[in-house]
Subunit: 167 residues, 2 copies
DNA sequence: TTAAACTTTCAAAAAATATTGAAAGTTTAT
DNA sequence: ATAAACTTTCAATATTTTTTGAAAGTTTAA
């Protein structure tokens, strides 16, 4: 496999992986492209490379910036805006963990807490609802705490810890 | 909040959470319903409760069984099939970790390995592609190993370990 | 202030995904 | 063998999500 094929394969794979965890294909592909680009890219270059429209590029770049994994960069003396991604994969993982906790886990935990706190009417059904949502609440909270620890630890903590665990 | 409201809220929330990580709404709602149902439910009952068609119910139940988190159950002397979910949340988490590893992580790892093994043509671009995909490969492998450990450990290991870690 | 160079927005179109429902399939009882 | 009771399949339809592209917006330079 030579460079162009490998590049395409990486971008394509990353793109479809993305759609599996809730970010769309274009967004994941833009991220993949920036991830392996040694230099910042302009909107024009991204559109060209991925064959997507200007509007699409603009909106998805914005979302990637909201996720905190892509940044604007200005080249001296140039009007055009350039974009780079977070290149450190540890930092990338940390940022994703942080955002997913905020967007998905925390709202779910809130609902589980509310639901599990209803008072039982004594029926088997309501007992089961309470029991199961309590258990899910506990599980989700544990995971959230874990992810938040990830976010705040120093460089490399994750790999070290995970490797230690699996021994 | 009383029982019916709580139940609806739980099913709805679980449904939209599901769609955020790649399983569809109906599938997640069926799972939620079974999760809090003290008794196994028939297809008829599921259709009725969630207001979805027979075909939809049938297909999604099958998928849930493929994920290993819903089971068929036969009541003595009854022709109809009944369904229950895995009720133990630890086991649920374990099963989901296992399936996600198999379906998403492992194929991605395979591609990352291939791509990161191309030989450089000396250009900055190909150096960067190799460097970044190697780093992602390492990260993804670490996570996969971690998830696989989860899957094979005894009851409760996850919570204990995570709690220990975050101290 | 004007205009060129660029980016963003958003309604419409396209594409992808989920859902329906009726026909086909299966199993069990008689 | 037949029919009743059930489940599965799948082409058609509906819904949701993504993408487009042109108009509106913004910034900079002269």
């Amino acid at each position: 496999m030579e460079f162009e094929e490998a590049k395409t394969k990486f971008i394509t794979t990353w793109g479809s992986l993305g759609s599996l965890w809730g970010i769309n294909k274009a967004m994941a592909q833009i991220h993949a492209l920036l991830m392996i680009s040694p230099e910042p890219l302009s909107m024009e270059e991204i559109m060209e490379e991925l064959q997507i429209s200007r509007g699409n590029t603009s909106m998805n770049l914005r979302q990637l910036m909201d996720w905190g994994i892509v940044f604007k960069e200005n080249k001296m003396g140039e009007r055009k805006e350039y974009f780079t991604s977070e290149k450190d994969v540890q930092e990338l993982a940390r940022q994703i963990a942080k955002e997913r906790s905020r967007r998905e886990l925390q709202p779910t935990i809130k609902v589980l807490k509310e639901v599990s706190n209803i008072k039982t009417d004594g029926s088997k059904k309501s007992e089961e609802l309470i029991k199961q949502t309590k258990a899910l609440h506990e599980l989700a909270s544990t995971m959230d705490t874990f992810m938040n620890k990830l976010v705040h630890k120093e460089q490399n903590w994750m790999t070290k810890t995970l490797l230690k665990l699996i021994k």
